[in-house]
Symmetry: C2
Subunit: 409 residues, 2 copies
Amino acid sequence: MFRKLLSLEEARKILKESFSPKPISAERVSLSEAHDRVLAKDIVAPIDVPPFDRSTVDGYAVKAVDTFGADEDRPVALKFCGQVNVGEPPSVVVENGMTAEIATGAPLPKGADAVVMVEYSIRRGDTIFIHRPVSKGENVMEAGSDIHKGETILRRGQRLASREKGVLAALGLKEVDVYKRPKVAVISTGAEVVEPGKPLPPGKVYDINAHTLSAAVLECGGEPINLGIIPDERDQLEAAVKKALNLADAVITSGGVSVGPKDIIPQVLDTLGKPGVIISGISVKPGKPTTIAVINGKPVFSLPGHPTSSLLMFHMIVRPVICKMAGRREEVSPMVKAVAATKMFPARGRRTFVMVNLTYDKTGKLLASPVPAGLSGAITTLAKAMGFVEIEEKKQFVNEGEEVTVYLF
Amino acid sequence: MFRKLLSLEEARKILKESFSPKPISAERVSLSEAHDRVLAKDIVAPIDVPPFDRSTVDGYAVKAVDTFGADEDRPVALKFCGQVNVGEPPSVVVENGMTAEIATGAPLPKGADAVVMVEYSIRRGDTIFIHRPVSKGENVMEAGSDIHKGETILRRGQRLASREKGVLAALGLKEVDVYKRPKVAVISTGAEVVEPGKPLPPGKVYDINAHTLSAAVLECGGEPINLGIIPDERDQLEAAVKKALNLADAVITSGGVSVGPKDIIPQVLDTLGKPGVIISGISVKPGKPTTIAVINGKPVFSLPGHPTSSLLMFHMIVRPVICKMAGRREEVSPMVKAVAATKMFPARGRRTFVMVNLTYDKTGKLLASPVPAGLSGAITTLAKAMGFVEIEEKKQFVNEGEEVTVYLF
C-alpha cells in the first residue's frame, strides 16, 4: 500500500471529493441554551417590531396638521383628552383639536400621527399650548419599522451571540432550532503515553494530544468524546476505532502514523469500511505522516503524535471540516501582515509552517519572529507562538525584512 | 438628588474609585472543565518536559565521539548491544564502541549522548556501520528542554484554550485552579415588557435586554442569573435588587432610568446600602441615563431600556468590570482603522457612538457606514452593526473620507 505524498492542496481536494461535511441534524433549544450555537433555519419574523406605533419621547400625541404654524409667540391650543401609559392599550382617540399625554414607549392612540415633546408644550388645566409644529410621524417609531412581519431577519448558519439573541427575543421567540454539535471521538495512541494525573513510569510521557485536540474540537463547535489512550496493538486499535465510529460523527487519532513498522493505524483504517484510507502522508512540515480515511461516510483523521504537528494539522485540515459539520459558515483563520524578523527556511520540497511570535519594533513595524526550539515535539513551541507563517514548497527562503502573512491561532 | 452629567472618563474614574473589581475566589476543576476558564494561580512545572532525554528519530544511540570521522567510504563499525523501545526504560548501557537500536520518542540509554538516523547506518548481524558522524546531543531532545522542572510556565490570569491545556497535560496535571465565574444578576424593568414565549397583549413589547445582557455577561466570563421582569413599583424593585445583591456579585438592571417621574430605580439604589448611587447619567449618546451604584461592596449598573443603548453601555462600562471580576486581564476591544463613508454628527456636547457597518470600496479602502435607522430603540441597528465609531464631545463632525477608529463588537 504505497501512495505518493500529496501537496496540501491535493490532500484537501481529495478529502473534499471523498467527504462532504454537512451539519448533522437540528434540535430545538431555549434562548439561554442557544448561546454560541448555529441557526439551523432562517428566522422569518412572526410579528412586527415594534408591534405598534410607539412614541419615542414623553409629550403629547397630536394630529400633526393641528400643530402647523405653531411658534413661541402664537402657540396652538389643544384640548386635553386623556393619557396614554406605557404598556397599556390607549383608551382615548385623538380627534381634531385634541391631544393626549403620552409617555416614551407608549402606543400612539388612534387619530394621532405625531408626538410633540413635552419641552415644547405648556399645560393650563385641560388646555395644552403647543409651541412648535411637528410633521406627520415625528417622534413616532412606526410598527414594523425595526423588523417587518414576514421579513427573513436571521439566516441559517448564523452563530448566535448577544445581538442575534436580542433579535430573537424581540420577536418573542423563546426557543430556536440550532444544529446539533457534531460528536468527534478523540483517541490517543502510543506505548509511551500516560493519562495526566497518573504516576509517570520511567520512559513514559503524559498524553497531551487528547487534551489539545478535544479543546480544539470544542473551539470549532464540536463535542469531543475522549476515548483515552489505546496501546499500539492491532486488535485494541481496531476495537477503539469501531467504537469511535459508532459513537461519533468523526474520529481523530494521534500518534502511530510515522514510518515505523509498528504503525498499524493505516492498516486498521483500510479494513473497517469503504473507501478506507484516502490520504497517506502530506508534503508539509510539520505534519507529514497525516493519514486520512473515510469509513462508511465518516471521516477519520490520523494526526502525528507530536503535539505541535497534530494541532497544526488539526488547524489546516480538520478544523474546516468540523466547522462545517457544526453548521458554521466556513471560517477563515484571522491573519495579519508582518515582516520577517529573521531569514526562515522551508523544509526541502515541503510546504513549511514556521511558528512565530509577533512584536512591534521601535518604528511600529509588526515583526514575525520564529519561536525558538523548533522541535515539533515541544509543546511550548506552540504555546508560545501567536501564529504561523506558511512557506511555499518552491520558495528557497523567506528573507529578513520580507513581508509575510501570519495566520493567527 | 441632583448630580451633574459626567463625561465618560469622569464616570469611569468615579467607578474605579468606588469599586475595585477583583476575582471572587478560586475553584479546582478538571482539565476538560477548564476550557476557557482563567488560571487563578501561576503554574510551576512539577516535572521536566520531556521527563528524560528522548530520541527524536529512529536510529542508533551512540557515544558521539565514536562516530567522529565516519563517512560513506569509511564507515565506523559499532557493536550492537540491544534495543530501546518507546515507553520502556532502557535495559542496556552503551559502552565505548557500542550502539543500541532506538525508536523515535524512546529514552536515550545510559552511556549514549547522541542518535544516528537509521538512514545513515547499515546493519550486518551484530555490527552496525555508521556513515555519518553526529555531535553530542544530536537527534536528542534533552530532559527539561521543553519545560524545566520549577519553571513558572503559565501565569495567573491566563485564559485556558487548547494550547494552554496542552501545557497542563504535558505536566501531568489533571486538575487546575481557576477563578470562579462572577455571578451577575440581570433584571428587566418596565410596565411594557413581556417575556418571550408569552402572548403579547396590546401596548406591550417583548423583553430584549435580559437576553442580550445575559449573553454579554457570558461572553466576558460571568455567569448570568436572569431574575426576569420586575414592574416599575418601588416595593417590587427594592425586593428584586435586594434578592439580586444576595445572589450575585454584581447586578445589572435595564429600563426605568430615563427622566420620567416613574424612575424609581435611583431612589431604590440610594436606600439599600452605602455609598449608593455614584453616577447619575453620563454625557454620552446613546446611554445618557446610565446610573451606577455601589451597595455594600457590590456594583449595580442601571442601564437604559433601549436595547442598543443598554448593550453599548454594557460594552463601555460594565464589560471591563465583569472581565476583571472573572480574572481576565483587562481586555481591549479589537479595533480597525477605516474611512468615514459619510459625514457623521455628534449629539451636541455629548460623546457620541455611531453604529457602523464595514465594507471595502473598489480601491480596497475600508469604509465605515452608519447603520440606517438610528433610533436607539431599534434592535436591528445593533444586529446589523459590526462596530461603532466614537465621536469626541468637542468635535463638530466627522467628515466624509476622514479616518476613524472602529471598535468592533
